[in-house]
Amino acid sequence: MNSQAPVLEMRGITKEFPGILANDHVDFELLRGEVHALLGENGAGKSTLMNILYGLYRADAGEVVLRGAPAVFGSAKDAIAAGIGMVHQHFMLIPVMTVAENIVLGHEPTREGIVLDEAGAEERVRDLSRRFGLAVDPSALVSQISVGQQQRVEILKALYRGADVLILDEPTAVLTPQEATELFGIIRSLQADGKSIIFITHKLNEVLEIADRITVLRRGKKIETVPREGATQESLARAMVGREVLLRVEKPPAQPGETLLEVEDLHVVDDRGIEKVRGISFSVRAGEIVGIAGVDGNGQTELIDAITGLRRIQRGSVRVAGRELRHATPREMLDAGVGHIPEDRQRRGLVLEFSIAENIALHDYAKPPSARWGWLFPGRLVERAQTLIRQFDVRGGGPLTRAGGLSGGNQQKVVVAREIARDPRVLVAAQPTRGLDVGAIEYLHRRLVEERSEGRAILLISLELDEILSLSDRILVLYEGRIVGEHEGEVSEEQIGLEMLGGRREAA
């Protein structure tokens, strides 16, 4: 299956941005017909390396050799012409156009050289579709197809332009588990057709499932290239981070106390008036972590918004420490002792243009000692921030550093520091480790378990099943706005996965 001659070689690639060396003499080699995973934490340099290959950046030093000949790409157009295709994490499709139109955009087939040959376009798309087993409807509007199908359109776009080296950038970040499996099938069939594939990811389990070889980057340097045989999640994690990584957090047995959060028959609608939470009831006690598992879009966002006062509740009740709070504003919820780590830290959790100190004060800026009678004391804000930065090990800047200048992990630490420092009784953690690297995930998991030991009631909502299984004392499965499964103690991933997709295990 693999011929011995590398189809692509990158030698000594170096790329510097102001203040940071993104790629430090990186060597990378791709054999024909192999699936090669590029593994590393956020900021390790994987995307930079591939952006150089794709012509979006110019390397400061080093060379790229494609099919034995040196290649210099001035732009993505050059790379595409040379047979390199890239599917980005954030799709670049036009929602109001059809699948076929999106695929042929820029290289439209024409009749008599001027008139767009729509039928011809659809035929070509159907051809490609059949050839590579990528089922799409050429006449469907992109805005109406699923995310998994949109990704297939992106792949077809690359194939239509004659790509035989495909770069996939974190492709499973936006897919459901089922769609991810389908993607792996597609990758294998592309491989069988002789395509060579580079798979950028930071997810260890995927890498072991799909890759032939794995290259690990850390802080801009290439650490190692290993074949899949013999590699384990632990060995890869160690290479990525540079030390032993605890992949499963140590959790002392639960000692739950009083009920701090009670949700009863909750009904919530989304912005379009569609009911997304359809009668949910559960409770969380002090000193326990309740995890809510589910595929994105089944009501998690609306549930979190309702519990934190950001969305109106149609019916039902929310009680915190016995107090009915279903009509509370976000401010009232905060004062009632509900902490919230939002799922989108950059949109909800932080004001990126504010300094760390100003962000930490986001809930408390109007209260003494930060302010008195409407007059702000910036010095106090800085003092408080300094303490918390030390306590929570926030790196990358001081109290006056702009929050937008921190890495994702450190931004999340600022958010977590702010929430925990207020000594909440209930902590709602929504996707707390989204977009974070292994080191930051490890820190956060440890922290959540610590807070659990402190007696806080923690509600964890996550799309990562591993995280739910690892941290939760009790697991609730959310499907189409309802709780379809409740588990305490040992439960298999398969069972939860089944419930997440709406299936139910038959009674034994």
Partner: protein, 403 residues
């Protein structure tokens, strides 16, 4: 194992840096990227092109600019001879008179920008302040000067605040875009004034019913003059009020909880809401404060040197719109607005006054003003272009190094 501090960040994608974010966030980004260099460069490029236009009409641009300079009274800062000293001091006092107004209309736009909103209604808010000040100043002629002035100024400021507050309220409640509502409110103010000062209007001159002009502001309500002659339109105390306003602007934004909320809402309304801040309340407050600055400008102008206003004066006034250019060039900061207002004030008075006497055609003189103003606004809007030109030096240097 110590982690080395990482000062820099790898852009997530080549488009990342200036792509998303709110209006205030983008402006803040540009501010950080260009510092003071970009506004200065913008003004310089605008002047260069203006000079080229002058040259194209057959006149000497250097002479034209010297005339503008003298016309604005800027030669007063050097060592003027005894015969030019008097004109220079008059000219400078007039320039500062214009600057007073522009500082305030500029602050009006800048404050709204900091909350993420476009206040295009400075002109209308200015007018409303002006009309109210005229009404109060012309009434109760027997009132003592101190309270009379204070009442007039306070009412003008409040009127501007209410006028802009309407737009803020509409945005907060039904989501009406403030650009549209403030422009509409401008027109309401303009035609309202035309009616008020026109034939049979409520504020029309009570002595001479044939003239579509307002009453005069009573002498007791006129602002004291600090430089020049009261009869010859000297510089009034309002100038110091405007300077104080710059300080107040800075203090509100950086030292009050209101300012914190306004900035948070301007940068990221979602995070502000999550933090417990009422986005609605702040949209209204920010617009009201914004309008207060513009209303104050109207009040100071009326009680400071205009003393009366006619229907024909209304279409000619453009200080509200110039305030937009002032705020943009000044990057919505207190210091920037101050300096930018001075530049525009000098330009306004220098071109209309200085060029008239010179060798340049009077028609061209006033058009030159418009050209330069327009160019500045254009380049301020296209400051990405200026940034590109500025950064291209660095790019060329690096390309030469690696070659």
């Amino acid at each position: 194992m110590a982690e080395p501090a990482r000062e820099g960040r790898v852009p997530e994608s080549p488009e990342q840096a200036a792509s998303t974010g709110t209006l205030a966030a983008r402006i803040s980004l540009r501010q950080r990227s260009g510092g003071i260099v970009v506004p200065v460069l913008t003004a310089v490029v605008a002047f260069l092109i203006g000079g080229a236009v002058v040259a194209a009409t057959g006149h000497n641009p250097l002479v034209a600019y010297r005339d503008i300079f003298n016309g604005a009274g800027l030669n007063w800062f050097g060592h003027p001879t005894t015969d030019t000293a008097l004109t220079a001091s008059y000219n400078l006092s007039q320039t500062l008179l214009q600057t007073t107004t522009l500082i305030l209309t500029g602050l009006a736009v800048a404050f709204a920008f900091r909350c993420g909103m476009f206040n295009i209604g400075g002109q209308g808010q200015y007018f409303v302040g002006l009309f109210v000040a005229n009404w109060i100043g012309a009434s109760w002629a027997t009132m003592a000067a101190g309270p009379h002035i204070l009442l007039g100024i306070a009412a003008a400021t409040a009127a501007g605040a209410v006028w802009a507050g309407i737009a803020g309220f509409l945005k907060a409640t039904v989501g009406a875009h403030e650009v549209i509502s403030t422009i509409m409110l401008n027109w309401i103010a303009i035609w309202g004034g035309t009616y008020l000062f026109g034939d049979g209007g409520l504020l029309q001159n009570s002595q001479n019913k044939a003239l579509p002009i307002s009453n005069d502001v009573a002498p007791g309500a006129q602002l004291p003059v600090v430089w020049g002659d009261q009869q010859l339109q000297g510089l009034h105390v309002g100038f110091f009020v405007a300077l104080a306003a710059l300080v107040v602007f800075w203090l509100i934004l950086n030292r009050t909880t209101l300012g914190y909320e306004v900035r948070a809402v301007g940068f990221n309304p979602d995070a502000a809401a999550y933090g417990g801040i009422s986005v609605r309340k702040n949209l209204i407050s920010a617009m009201a404060i914004s309008g207060a600055f513009a209303g104050l400008a109207g009040g100071l102008d009326m009680l400071g040197y205009l003393y009366r206003y006619g229907v024909s004066d209304i279409p000619v006034s453009a200080v509200g719109f110039l305030g937009i250019a002032v705020a943009l060039l000044g990057r919505n900061t207190a210091l920037g607005v101050g300096l930018s207002a001075f530049l525009f004030g000098a330009l306004l008075f220098g071109t209309t006054h200085g060029l008239q006497s010179g060798a340049i055609d009077p028609q061209l003189a006033s058009n030159l003003t418009y050209i330069i103003q327009g160019l500045i606004v254009l380049f301020v809007g296209a400051d990405v272009l200026i940034l590109y030109l500025w950064n291209s030096r660095r790019r060329l240097r690096r390309r030469a190094a690696t070659a």
